[in-house]
Amino acid sequence: AQTVTQSQPEMSVQEAETVTLSCTYDTSESNYYLFWYKQPPSRQMILVIRQEAYKQQNATENRFSVNFQKAAKSFSLKISDSQLGDTAMYFCAFLNGQGGSEKLVFGKGTKLTVNP
C-alpha cells in the first residue's frame, strides 16, 4: 500500500519570503500522480499543484513550484513570495495512475502560518 509522509507538522514564514514543505512517499508503482492541496479554515480542499510521475520537468503554478525527485520518492512544495492568504494546512497526496484504485492517499498535513 502507498504511504505519504509529511515530516513537518507546523511551519512559519515571514510575508514575502520563501518556504519549502517536505513530502516523501512510498510506492512500487511507476505511473502515478502527486498533488499538493491547500485547506484554509473554510475546510475546502483546494488543489495547488499536480505532478505526473512520468514527467521529469517540475510543475509550476505561479508562486508555487515543486521539486520532484522520483528516485528519492520526494515531492516538496516551494512557495515563493509568501502571502498572508497562504496561511493554511497543506496536504501532500498520492494517486495510483494504473487505474483500479482511484483514491487519493494523503499525508497528515503541514500547518503553515505566514506572519506579517
Binding site: Y37, R43, M45, L47, A93, K103, L104, F106, K108
Partner: protein
C-alpha cells in the same frame, strides 16, 4: 451551484443516534468520494462511487457506516449508532477525470 455542496455544514448529535450527511457533486461528474478527516490527521478514504459500477467500500471503518448515491448524482453518508470516535470532518469530492478532484467544504460532525 458550480461547486460540490455538502450539508449540513455542522452537525451535533448524541451518542447512539443516527446521522445522515449529504453531498451534491458537480453536475456531470461521474465519480464521487467520501473522506474523513479526524483532528490532526490527514484525510482517510471511506468510499468511492464511479458511474454505475459497484462502489469501492474498502475504507468504511465499520458496518455502522454506509453510503448510497441516487441517480448517479446526490450521495448520502449514513452513520448509525454514532460513537464519539466518529467525530470528524466528513469531506465529499467529485470528479470527471479521476486525477482532478473537486472538494466540498465538509460536514463537521460532533458526537457528544
Amino acid at each position: 451551484g458550480a461547486g460540490v455542496s455538502q450539508s449540513p455544514s455542522n452537525k451535533v448529535t448524541e451518542k447512539g443516534k443516527d446521522v445522515e450527511l449529504r453531498c451534491d457533486p458537480i453536475s456531470g461528474h461521474t465519480a464521487l468520494y467520501w473522506y474523513r478527516q479526524s483532528l490532526g490527521q490527514g484525510l482517510e478514504f471511506l468510499i468511492y462511487f464511479q458511474g454505475n459500477s459497484a462502489p469501492d467500500k474498502s475504507g468504511l471503518p465499520s458496518d455502522r457506516f454506509s453510503a448510497e448515491r441516487t441517480g448517479g448524482s446526490v450521495s448520502t453518508l449514513t452513520i448509525q449508532r454514532t460513537q464519539q470516535e466518529d467525530s470528524a470532518v466528513y469531506l465529499c469530492a467529485s470528479s470527471l477525470y479521476y486525477e482532478k478532484l473537486f472538494f466540498g467544504s465538509g460536514t463537521q460532525l460532533s458526537v457528544l
